[in-house]
């Protein structure tokens, strides 16, 4: 936090910081939610976000163009998801094992391609868009920190809700996720639909990763996603596959993350290491709260989630 802010601005600052911290969780979570609704469980979020963060950063740093960075990150995330799709959808490999492999591979790949970019300074997304940011009044500084991706994180949940429950395509996606055999019998191409949702999920994860390396903390550091991919996965379960609840969960997490910094700034003498465990402990608590009602979970979860589709005809 900068020096003493007027109270109203201080409240706004906490709000803005919460929204910013929740942004990658919402973007990645929405991608995964759509994929899971079609029956695909991709545990490779962390790996796809890391590759997105690295590729996005490299593209933005070398071209000097933040938009190029974001697009490259989406393409990289989509490519990772495509790899996952070939293995699990075409070759019907185990989705859990393949997702773990994707995370391990992505962690290594991102570190490898990003090695020459560690410590390279780039301007943050908000500064790129508003070059006068540093000289603006504190109030405007806060408002301008809400970059387009933060706005996207606010728009995505209603958009995904609308797509899944108000459009024909969304109905087909849900049908494939509930019973791939029935969807197949009705004449829908289960693999094609799942490829589409999986690749969408990958692109969103890549974008979420790029948000971290281009806007949230504009730099590249190995492993900088720091478990957010896994938290996004947990949020999908927490939300019982409902976009609005996912956003609420993400804001809660954003607030916990921020509270950790606020506590430090306020001079509360708790070790930063112990405070850093809070988001992970909160994830566990939230999972427990939502999972203990096994019936509700089973009613809401896509029935074909994680199950390979092997057509008999």
């Amino acid at each position: 936090m900068p020096e003493r802010l007027p109270d109203a601005v201080a409240v706004l600052a906490v709000l803005v910081a919460t929204l910013r911290a929740a942004t990658p969780l919402i973007i990645a979570g929405m991608g995964e939610l759509v994929a899971e609704k079609s029956g695909v469980l991709n545990l490779g979020q962390e790996g796809m976000m890391l590759v997105g963060a690295a590729v996005g950063f490299i593209a933005a740093a070398t071209t000097g163009n933040a938009a190029a960075g974001l697009l490259a990150a989406m393409a990289a995330g989509a490519a990772m998801a495509l790899l996952f799709g070939v293995l699990t959808l075409t070759l019907t490999a185990n989705q859990v094992a393949t997702g773990l492999a994707l995370t391990i591979f992505g962690t290594g790949l991102s570190a490898l391609i990003g090695v020459n970019f560690v410590g390279t300074p780039i301007p943050g997304l908000a500064t790129v868009l508003w070059p006068g940011l540093a000289h603006a009044s504190p109030l405007w500084q806060q408002l301008l920190l809400l970059d387009p991706l933060v706005w996207l994180s606010l728009l995505l949940p209603p958009a995904v809700q609308w797509f899944l429950y108000r459009t024909r395509a969304g109905l087909i996606v849900r049908a494939v996720g509930e019973s791939h055999d029935v969807a197949h019998a009705l004449g829908y191409s289960v693999p094609r639909i799942r490829y589409l949702t999986t690749v969408f999920g990958g692109a969103m994860s890549g974008l979420a990763g790029a948000y971290l390396s281009l806007a949230y903390t504009p730099m590249w550091v190995e492993n900088m996603v720091a478990g957010r991919g896994w938290i996004a996965l947990a949020l999908v379960v927490f939300s019982t596959w409902k976009p609005g609840w996912l956003a609420l969960g993400a804001w809660l997490f954003g607030f916990i993350t921020i509270a950790q910094f606020e506590a430090e700034a306020a001079g509360i003498s708790v070790s930063p290491n112990l405070l850093a465990t809070l988001p992970y402990l909160a994830t566990i608590v939230v999972l427990v709260l939502i999972s203990h009602d096994a019936v509700a979970l089973r009613l809401n979860a896509p029935a074909a989630l994680g199950k390979p589709f092997r057509p008999t005809v």
Partner: protein
């Protein structure tokens, strides 16, 4: 015309063991391509990756040293996966094991008593088992899936370790480095091969292989676990408890990982530091699958994975390649394995797209 996967009448014979070998070969090709893309001579780099590290006695000892935690963690993971319990938090259990064992060392190693080292190992195993008991409890009592809880607890464990070495356990004479004081000699595992760093812990790993195999194949408990994993419905019908499988496999895996953790700290490292593992707990997942979830296979797979770690370090020094190369090759290995397994049960066929003709009944 399109390519289609057609199920085989029976899985290709021998493919269960052929596909790991194939995956290794393909990964080597992939690695060579990677090296070439990074402007290195692929043959020189492959030599540095696979051959140079084990061209000496010391190299072989280092191989055993790195394979040890992988074997211990992977045997536990594999027994769990057999029962459909996915422990992917071995890294955290490893860390908590190291912390608990260190507590004993810092408290009692000055006494010089004979029991200090055994107590450290027991505390390490118990700590890892207790850490893994948390997700077991959350799964059986609250239905919270262990994939996410074990992983979240790993992050918690690593931050706890950071807190201890930056705070209460920091060596006051350590020039402010975030680490504990060095363990006294009585609190260090004896070295197996003089002049190398290979310790007693390799014996634990070697013991875990036949014991794990015996458990899975030779005991009723192992049979029950496999039934729970392969046919949950049949297991329920037979009265084999799923909760029992969770409570058996998670603490067992945690205990083995915890033992690996304290062995690392009371072995080559000699003190508690912020980073005590290059990701053994995660790499062990690959090892478990590469070894076909079978303890003997795991031993071979762990040696291979250890070679990748050593080779990665060698490449960093001789070829100035980043250490992350190891992670990329590890990931490739698992991808090729999963793809190979798929081909064991399916074959590719060119299918003529049929014209859909509606016929009268």
């Amino acid at each position: 015309m399109r390519l289609s996967l057609v199920p085989r009448d029976a899985p290709l014979p021998g493919m269960a063991w052929l596909s790991p070998l194939l995956a290794v070969a393909l990964s080597a090709v992939g690695a060579a391509a990677l090296f070439a893309a990074m402007g290195r001579n692929p043959l020189v780099a492959l030599d540095a990756l696979f051959v140079e590290p084990i061209a000496s006695l010391n190299g072989l000892a280092e191989l055993g040293l790195k394979a040890t935690p992988l074997v211990l963690c992977a045997v536990g993971i594999a027994i769990g996966v057999r029962a459909n319990v996915w422990n992917i938090g071995a890294e955290g259990q490893f860390t908590v094991g190291a912390i608990c064992g260190t507590a004993v060392a810092l408290g009692f190693d000055a006494t010089g008593a004979w029991w200090v080292l055994p107590a450290m190992l027991a505390a390490g195993a118990a700590g890892g088992a207790a850490w893994a008991a948390i997700p077991a409890f959350l799964r059986t009592r609250f239905n919270a899936h262990e994939i996410l809880t074990t992983l979240m607890l790993s992050y918690v464990a690593i931050h706890l370790l950071g807190w201890l070495v930056h705070g209460p356990w920091q060596d006051p004479e350590g020039f402010n480095f975030p680490q504990t004081r060095q363990f006294r000699d009585d609190a260090l595992l004896p070295v197996l091969v003089p002049g190398t760093r290979l310790t007693m812990s390799a014996v634990f790993a070697l013991l875990s292989v036949p014991l794990g195999a015996l458990l899975l194949r030779g005991t009723l408990a192992g049979y029950r676990l496999r039934v729970v994993g392969l046919a949950p419905g049949a297991a329920r019908y037979a009265g084999f408890s799923e909760a029992g499988a969770v409570w058996f496999t998670l603490p067992l895996a945690g205990g083995l990982a915890g033992l690996a953790g304290i062995s690392e700290v009371a072995g080559p490292i000699g003190q508690l530091q912020p980073v005590i593992s290059p990701g053994y707990g995660y790499a062990a997942i690959i090892v478990a699958f590469l070894g076909r979830l079978d303890p003997l296979g795991i031993l071979l797979a762990a040696l291979l994975m250890a070679l990748l770690y050593l080779g990665g370090e060698g490449l960093q020094m001789s070829q100035q390649l980043p250490l992350a190369v190891t992670g990329v090759i590890q990931g490739m290995l698992l991808f090729f394995l999963l793809a190979g397994d798929a081909f064991a049960g399916y074959r590719l066929r060119l299918v003529r797209t049929p014209r859909h003709v509606v016929r009268d009944a």
